[in-house]
């Protein structure tokens, strides 16, 4: 929101969809969404064709914050290697919060099991942008095989956030040495 005005009906629905889906999963009902947003079903369906479209829009809405939280500022003066490590420091830090349930863009795709679902498509696109960031930094850092390194870092990102999200690993002492090893072997400056 750019003003301090009361959030619009649309904003309240997007926020409720993002929060409840993250906490409870994509199976969350329309009634629960409307209750959390303080909005009638009629209002929801005036703004969104379906719950699927609301879910997709809520993921799209969060995409900028997702990138801003994870990625370093453009031209922050650090090396590509440091810029990549920055992303994984954010993941480790996020994973320490009790409410952490992993990457929402991975979770929604795992849950929906349908790559053509509008929310899966948004999620796929957001994560492809993260891989593209890794690819670009890998190339600028002189990685021997930037494509491979970008895929490896995406794999580590998803594996780490998923394992932290389900409480299988806390990531401390794991994610930093793993990423450093992959960067070293790729010859990343």
């Amino acid at each position: 929101m750019t003003t301090e005005a009361k959030p619009s009906t649309r904003d309240r629905l997007l926020e409720a969809a993002a929060a409840l889906t993250y906490r409870d999963g994509v199976g969350i009902g329309v009634e629960a969404l409307c209750r959390a947003a303080g909005v009638s079903k009629r209002s929801l369906y005036k703004l969104f064709d379906s719950k699927d479209e609301l879910l997709a829009a809520s993921l799209e809405e969060r995409a900028a914050a997702f990138a801003a939280t994870l990625l370093p500022a453009v031209d922050d003066g650090r090396s590509p290697r440091e810029r990549i490590l920055h992303v994984f420091e954010q993941v480790e830090s996020q994973a320490g919060v009790p409410e952490y349930r992993g990457c929402r863009y991975l979770a929604v795709q795992v849950e929906l099991k349908d790559q053509s679902h509008p929310a899966s498509r948004v999620a796929h696109h957001v994560k492809a942008n993260l891989t593209a960031f890794f690819r670009s930094e890998a190339e600028q850092g002189g990685a021997s095989d930037p494509d491979l390194l970008a895929r490896q870092l995406s794999l580590v990102f998803d594996g780490a956030s998923a394992r932290a999200g389900i409480g299988a690993d806390q990531l401390t002492g794991l994610i930093a040495p793993t990423v450093a090893t992959l960067l070293d072997v790729a010859g990343m400056r």
Copy 2:
């Protein structure tokens, strides 16, 4: 099943729960499960206290097959390094099947978002056994830090199967070099 007799009501329910949950997610309804199993709801509730208990039992039932498919035979004469690589060859091979939706034991935990759910507990236990296998092989192979290597391999397992399951990566040319790098750096014979 150990005989060629018609599957029991219980076996049909376990099979339907495993198959439908894997394909459609944990939100699958009791009606759909009963229809797929050819069993009445009354029969389901005579055998299981709840859908949650049926889901947990179906994951438990599959645990032996999960291990048998992934893990090498005990004392197969190969080195710990080769035995670990064997697991990831199986993942890459499974990921090539169109119906592949990733590791069912990761998916159910991501979907349920509740570590105390009976199905989450079964899934957590099954995956902890996989990490224990990695840990044991790492130690036998002389890894410099067997705990770290076991956590890294578990992370790669979950990241790779999740990304393949959502169609974000095919794993070809990714999983083998990544695991080999981690084994090399750990000094695994």
